[in-house]
């Protein structure tokens, strides 16, 4: 698995979660939330978010429509679809499982592995 694949996968998951929590948002809003929550830990070019959003929209996890931003400019707002919510739940579960397994593995002592 290439590094970008992992990062884009997590980026997609984070975008979905953001929309789930905060409701409809434009691209900049999503990028800022991700930045705020992850701190400087996740340094991505904000631009790379857009291809991810496109992909999610093509898959039907999110939908978009044009509206007006807080500055009364035309902006594209993304929202989570029902399918996206299901997708997010499934992904979250699988992520938690994976994380739990990895955590247990890392916590394992030498004799456990013997």
């Amino acid at each position: 698995m290439k590094e970008t694949d992992v990062r884009q996968g997590t980026l997609a998951l984070m975008a979905l979660k953001t929309l789930d929590v905060l409701g409809p948002l434009h691209g900049y809003g999503i990028a800022r939330r991700i930045e705020q929550i992850s701190g400087d830990l996740l340094t991505v070019n904000q631009g790379t978010l857009y291809p991810v959003l496109l992909r999610l929209e093509q898959e039907g996890s999110i939908a978009s429509e044009w509206g007006s931003s807080e500055h009364h400019r035309r902006a594209r707002f993304y929202r989570l679809t029902r399918q996206g919510r299901k997708h997010l739940q499934a992904e979250t579960r699988s992520w938690e499982q994976t994380a739990a397994i990895i955590t247990r593995f890392f916590a394992a002592k030498v004799e456990d592995l013997k």
Partner: protein, 814 residues
């Protein structure tokens, strides 16, 4: 599911690419604006705020590229770009493009045209339901009549009695149908109409014929077993073609009465469109009549004779039944039937009894006599056209290489700038495929015209009658074939330039144009030239050999004269003539035609050259009886007195037939040289007698010997077989009447005179307006029509002339 959804979305956004591009731009602008505003709020100067926003966003163009890739089908888009580019390049070299496309079109057209014939004649099944479960009797067709109780090699045609026996005793057939091998020409007149009789081919078929094929009527109904009873009212099914062409698609024709050979038949239905019966042949039947009506139409009926074999069999088997087990079952039935007729069998038949057998073959294509006849020719032609296409490929590959050299500089520059090899290779390949596709498209049009021409030459239709049921318009498999051939052609001649493009060194671009003299391509170009020359030589040699072979065939001594002769075909039976009226009728026809200005003489015969004759055995008086297995066959023809003069066949010994040979004088015969060689060897044949049966060996006295004439029983490429000629006045019609009425009138014109068909028709009308003239043609133009093998060689000839032309045009272009 999500993958599918994404694909649909990609398709949609691919179509709306321009709109999406604008929206993306707007979205980016908005993003940057919001970020800038936030940065200003954080205390940065407007310029710095904008700069930081841009930095944070990252490379816009790279992101756009990713976005686009994900949005649509990037490889498809690039392919379209490349195609557009290739088209532009081709447009910039119109001379090259046009000549290449034309050459390709000739090559692909020829191949496609031959393939469409191969497809219809060699590969296609009959247009009937589920042809795979049909089986036919016999491995080869042995048209058209055989008598006795033994058949050489295999039983392929049967009598009505044997058909019934096999039908009733072979359990594995769902339906076993019988039908006549020949399609006799019927005199057709709509009852109550004022028109004269027209002649159309008909066919006697068993009542379950349509049911066996799984074919329903277009309108009305098809024949049923209840129609096929001696006591049933006479009914007939008419072909869709005749109904449409002659009777204007008038549905009220169903239920009306037609006189077929002067016997009333009620039309009960119209056969479906495209149904041409049980075999591909020219002409296909226009009337389907129940077998049991044969005695009603024909005085010398074959139906009731158990030893007269004239029916082909096709049966539908239950799915999954093994053909071999049916074959075995039928063999037993055949033997049992033969034993049932032991008393009627001749000693010769009894001697051959143990080896009597039959074979069952696939019947989905019907009776495939056409296939057997043309298979070899079509294979040769297919191979020849393949060769031509290869030569065309080699020529064009050479041209493409030259073009590739011109682009070398550009290619190395592209490579130096980072173009992947696949992209550089794709350009010449795309160009080649585009060229071959254009060539293919034009080629299909050429193929259509060529196929029509071939069909017209090889199978000319008599006016008003159905021609060969082969359509020249390309069918789906043919179009597919043309497409695949074009694609393959494009790949073949595109590979070498593509290979060359792939080997371009990017460093060359840096070295400058003075160093770009090609060396790498020269070897492949040289080998191409060698290949090209070799192929061309093979083709030219083959064409030359075949042309000279055909030339010898055509210029050989046929034993009769072709020029200045017309043949008019009549059928006195259609006008209801009786045997005793014939001598007078023949006299009147000859007198009337000889009165046409410009006519030197006229003569009637059963068959005119190169038509076939009837077959019979020969028993020579004074010779011991031939062994049971000896070949004693000969063909014979019946002619009026001046026949030999009319076709200019030289009399070698004795005399020809004359007016003195009347019904009351001694029965005489004139034989050909091959007859003498076969039956007399060193003896003098003049004055000797022979007959067609052992008990009648004194029937005919030989009065003369004529030169061998190449008639078509033998085929042009085979030595002439034995023949004997009998005078018309001594015809014995008691045994078999109608079929032996003379029907060919050979008309000889005076040197330089030109006799019109109209004047012949007028002369015939003055004899009897009800006597239809079926066709009029020159003796020469009769060749392709009546001689199947010669027809095909004629066509091959045409093609072999066409191929070198193709080659020359592509060669000179190169």
């Amino acid at each position: 599911m999500r993958v599918l959804r994404r694909l649909v979305a990609q398709l949609v956004s691919w179509a709306t690419a321009r709109q999406d591009e604008k929206e993306l731009q707007a979205e980016i602008e908005e993003h940057l604006a919001l970020q800038t505003a936030d940065n200003i709020r954080a205390g940065l100067s407007p310029e710095e705020a904008r700069r930081q926003a841009a930095l944070k966003f990252g490379a816009v163009e790279a992101m756009k590229e990713t976005y686009r890739d994900r949005r649509g089908f990037p490889s498809l888009e690039r392919l379209i770009q490349d195609t557009r580019h290739a088209l532009r390049r081709l447009r910039k070299a119109p001379a090259f493009t046009v000549s290449t496309v034309l050459t390709l079109a000739l090559g692909i057209g020829a191949t496609t045209s031959i393939f469409s014939l191969v497809h219809t004649i060699l590969l296609k099944s009959l247009p009937v339901a589920n042809p795979a479960t049909l089986y036919r009797l016999g491995r080869e067709s042995h048209c058209c009549y055989m008598d006795g109780f033994s058949q050489k090699d295999e039983w392929s045609i049967v009598s009505y009695d044997l058909y019934k026996y096999l039908r009733d005793n072979t359990k594995s057939f769902v339906e076993l149908a019988a039908f006549q091998d020949l399609t006799p020409i019927l005199g057709v007149r709509r009852s109550g109409g004022v028109e004269t009789a027209q002649s159309y081919p008909g066919e006697f078929v068993s009542g379950n014929y349509f049911k066996m094929f799984g074919v329903g009527a277009y309108a009305g109904r098809v024949l049923t077993p209840s129609d096929d009873q001696p006591s049933a009212p006479p009914v007939a099914v008419i072909s869709f073609r005749l109904w449409q062409e002659r009777y204007g698609s008038d549905r009220s024709i169903i239920g009306t009465v037609f006189n077929l050979d002067d016997k009333p038949f009620t039309i009960v239905g119209i056969a479906p469109q495209g149904f041409f019966g049980d075999s591909l042949r020219n002409p296909s039947p226009d009337f389907f009549l129940p077998l049991n009506m044969e005695p009603y139409v024909d005085v010398e009926a074959d139906l009731k004779l158990p030893f007269q074999h004239w029916l082909e069999l096709i049966g539908r088997v239950q799915p999954g039944v093994n053909a071999q087990s049916i074959e075995a079952e039928m063999r037993v039935n055949l033997k049992q039937w033969l034993q049932g007729h032991w008393a009627q069998m001749s000693p010769s038949d009894r001697a051959k009894f143990p080896e009597q057998t039959l074979y069952l073959g696939p019947g989905g294509a019907g009776i495939t006599s056409m296939r057997e006849r043309y298979e070899l020719w079509l294979q040769i032609l297919m191979m020849a056209s393949g060769f031509v296409l290869l030569v065309v490929c080699a020529n064009i590959a050479n041209l493409m290489l030259v073009r590739g050299l011109e682009r070398r500089q550009q290619n190395s520059l592209s490579r130096a700038l980072g173009a992947p090899v696949s992209r550089v290779v794709r350009e010449p390949l795309l160009e080649s495929i585009l060229l071959s596709m254009f060539g293919g498209a034009v080629g299909v049009a050429i193929a259509f015209a060529a196929t029509r021409l071939i069909l017209q030459l090889a199978f000319p239709a008599l006016p008003g009658q159905a021609g060969m049921p082969i359509s020249a318009s390309p069918s789906m498999p043919v179009l597919l074939f043309a497409f695949v051939v074009s694609l393959a052609t494009g790949l073949i001649f595109g590979i070498s330039p593509a290979w060359m493009a792939a080997r371009v060194d990017p460093i060359e671009a840096l070295r400058g144009s003075s160093r770009s003299t090609p060396r790498a391509g020269s070897f492949s170009r040289k080998s191409l030239v060698v290949l090209q020359t070799a192929l061309s030589l093979v083709l030219l040699t083959a064409a030359g050999l075949l042309t000279s072979a055909f030339g010898r065939l055509e210029n050989q001594d046929f034993g009769f004269e072709q020029d200045g002769r017309l043949v008019a075909v009549i059928n006195p039976r259609l006008a209801g003539y009786q045997p005793e009226q014939l001598t007078l009728l023949y006299r009147r026809i000859i007198d009337s035609i000889e009165n046409i200005p410009g006519v030197a003489s006229a003569s009637l015969s059963l068959y005119s050259p190169p038509g076939a004759g009837w077959g019979s055995g020969v028993f020579v008086d004074g010779h011991s009886l031939p062994g049971l297995r000896d070949d004693i066959s000969s063909t014979w023809n019946r002619v009026t007195a001046s026949y030999f003069e009319a076709v200019a066949t030289p009399i070698v010994r004795g005399r020809g037939l004359s007016e003195r040979d009347t019904a009351d004088s001694r029965r005489v015969a004139v034989v050909n040289e091959a007859f003498v060689r076969k039956f007399f060897r060193d003896e003098d044949p003049i004055g000797r007698s022979f007959g067609a049966r052992p008990t009648m060996s004194r029937e005919f006295e030989i009065v003369g010997v004529v030169k061998d004439v190449r008639y078509f029983t033998n085929g042009l490429d085979r030595p002439t077989g034995p023949m004997y000629f009998l005078p018309a006045a001594q015809a014995d019609y008691t045994r078999s009447a109608g079929a032996l009425f003379l029907h060919d009138i050979v008309i000889v014109s005076k040197p330089g005179a030109n006799i019109s068909a109209a004047s012949v028709l007028q002369a015939m009308a003055s004899v009897d307006p009800n006597l239809p003239v079926i066709s009029i043609h020159t003796l020469h133009s009769k060749w392709p029509a009546s001689s199947r093998s010669h027809g095909s060689s004629h066509v091959s000839h045409l093609f072999l002339e066409y191929f070198p032309c193709c080659w020359l045009s592509s060669g000179s272009m190169a």
